[in-house]
Subunit: 140 residues, 2 copies
Amino acid sequence: MKKTRDTDLALMFDRFMRSIHFGLQQKAGDFDRKSVGPGGGMLLMTLADAGQVSQNELSRRMVRDKSQMTRMIQGLEGKGLVRRENSTSDGRVVMVSLTAEGEQVVEELLEAVADVIGDLLAPISANETQLLKQLLSRIV
Amino acid sequence: MKKTRDTDLALMFDRFMRSIHFGLQQKAGDFDRKSVGPGGGMLLMTLADAGQVSQNELSRRMVRDKSQMTRMIQGLEGKGLVRRENSTSDGRVVMVSLTAEGEQVVEELLEAVADVIGDLLAPISANETQLLKQLLSRIV
DNA sequence: TATTGTTATACTCTATAACTATA
DNA sequence: TATAGTTATAGAGTATAACAATA
């Protein structure tokens, strides 16, 4: 049997993510009416998970530079999917949240992602899926 | 406790990969002398894992379009890190493998990745890491 | 001084389609 | 016809640095 190194995790994670993107792209027409793209989709899903958060917190959660947040958020704001509001307690901070339309788009997106992930997870059991999520949530 | 959906896996996987890239980038000067970039790095690691394979197989393993393979491989070939050879059994096929210099570069890269992944995996035990790899290898 | 967010720039990654050559 | 690989193009993602405003 082939020796597996921890570095193989990088290959496996990358492959998993790429499989999700690839799977989604096959059915993009079904839900990506607003053509938010992969990055926009991740941002919307992060917002659905986090609720109203500052751009800085988004940048931290998505492990992407704050300058990218500005652009992505501006794009989604232009499409009416997210809302930006100045923080009342700190004049520097901009809070971001989903609009009603954004909620609807992310709902369709989540459904599509659930489909794709469901297919990917077919080789392992529901219990193992729970275990996987539990392990990952402790890591990230 | 917050309900977790399977779709959260997408966020967690993305975050893990981004953390690897971010961690590597911090120490890029230490090993990325050839400036292969993230894509080139993944390709080199895939080759280290797979040995000599066709471009088509690489495209399949990395879940990326074949046209991207051409470009990435040409870039790495120009840097002397990979070698292309025509298949003897099928005139259409190009086999790709690491050069001696490529082996050396990937070795440094793997060391850096192991460092970063080691840090990321700190919250879980060695046994759990094994379990995680075992689950993932069954999925991808 | 430090932090939040913006802007500008250059570079890499990606999807798509049209193409050549071999099977 | 089908498959392996190439080329060209446009668009999306990313890192970096310089900047303004607030703390």
